[in-house]
Amino acid sequence: MGLDVNWALDWLKLSAKAMDEHRVELIELDRAIGDSDHGENMDRGFQAVLQKLDETPPETPGAALKSAAMTLMSKVGGAAGPLYGTAYLRAATSLGDASHIDAAALAAALAAARDGVVARGKAELGDKTMIDAWTPAVEAAEKAAASGADALAVLEAAAEAAETGAMATDPLVARKGRASYLGERSAGHRDPGAASTALLLRAAAAAAAGSTGDTGTDAV
């Protein structure tokens, strides 16, 4: 048992759907404290991800994530490209060529993804970045996996923690990225990167649940 390549493909499809449906909200968040291109860039990036997966169908979950990583790094344009690209790439490396992923492997892949974002962006917890969604998500996933939860429960725990983490960026003052130029004025706005991370992890859980429905979340 465990999650297979169809889960990875569903995850990426639901991610693209979420980026499309929440494009305007992400643009609005980024307009407040950044350069207002996050929603546009993520939407375009994930459309390109789907196109590439269609052209060259992957055989394992790791291969699907690696394909997405390379596409995002080349097509997104903004900082989210190398950050999410590195996250997906490190997760793909962590998964290796396994055809099925269990809860422990999934938690390890999420941790590898988070470590990749930290290494690339050099942000710390509390800097008002996507790390503020990734780190609680990884901690919740590891805790769930250690307590014997299955892959779906691990992803649901991660998604919920990411949403809480994203909402908790509202009062923070940005210390990294374009928003850091605003200083105190960045407080009172949600970090767009943390919001998109919450959407992507919610999509991962929805894909595992076999749901293709609502991509809504409180985190955007």
């Binding site: 080349s74 097509k75 997104v76 903004g78 190398p82 374009r178």
Partner: protein, 230 residues
């Protein structure tokens, strides 16, 4: 062959313009621009940057590649490109202001400096150290007597401008000597230009180190030849 240089910017116009500017002072250096996204929007693209790095690795024939970048995500894309490059150890990222750092790096490469020294030349241009920031790294006063020194009168009509400064800095970067010209770092193009020394000005050249004499002679020869402008 010289060290190759890749310029990564969010804007293709910035990358191409910076390359055009630096090429004036470093005609033999292979400079590759990698700006903008694949579809010519503002942003950076791993594919573009990686292609530029690979081209530069070939152009430089094993001498190595230095990458200069502009804002945040350009740095991240460049770091990713280095990880994917066919020879990651031969590609160095320079943490320097894009335009000033590029010009300094290009001149160092033109002068035959190795890949580490080309990066150092770029990074020696600290932010705010350009002509408006007071003229290059501070040279401590009251040091030991120089190992070699001489005064030379500028005879070329335009005096000290970008090309002479580049020739002086470029040649000195290949020598084992610390050199000052009228008290500023002789290896800093920006500091030399900031001297704003016109025709008839006297350049006081002081050098310390193994190649001190060679360094003073090198500057003297350039000045007497009018930097090839006579």
């Amino acid at each position: 062959m010289t060290v190759g240089i890749v310029v990564v910017s969010h804007s293709s116009k910035i990358a191409e313009g910076a390359v055009e500017l630096a090429a004036q002072m470093a005609p033999d250096v292979e400079l590759v621009a990698a700006g903008g996204t694949d579809d010519e929007r503002i942003g950076t693209s791993l594919e573009k940057v990686l292609a530029a790095v690979e081209q530069s690795l070939v152009d430089s024939g094993g001498d190595g590649v230095v990458v200069l970048t502009d804002l945040g995500s350009a740095v991240m894309t460049a770091e990713s490109a280095v990880e994917f490059a066919s020879d990651p150890d031969a590609v160095l990222l320079a943490d320097a202001p894009l335009v000033e750092g590029l010009v300094a790096a290009a001149v160092a490469a033109q002068g035959g400096a190795g890949v580490e020294d080309v990066r150092k030349a770029a990074e020696a241009v600290a932010f705010g150290n350009g002509p408006s920031g007071g003229g290059g790294p501070e040279i401590p006063e009251g040091r030991d007597e120089p190992d070699a020194s001489a005064d030379f009168e500028l005879i070329n009509p335009l005096g000290m401008h970008a090309r002479p400064a580049a020739k002086i800095a470029g040649g000195l970067s290949g020598l084992d000597a610390e050199v000052t010209v009228n008290g500023v770092d002789g290896m800093s193009i920006m500091a030399l230009m900031a001297l704003a020394a016109g025709k008839g000005s006297i350049l006081r050249v002081e050098a310390r180190g193994k190649d001190a004499t060679k360094a003073v002679e090198y500057v003297g020869r350039l000045v007497k030849e009018g930097f090839g402008e006579l």
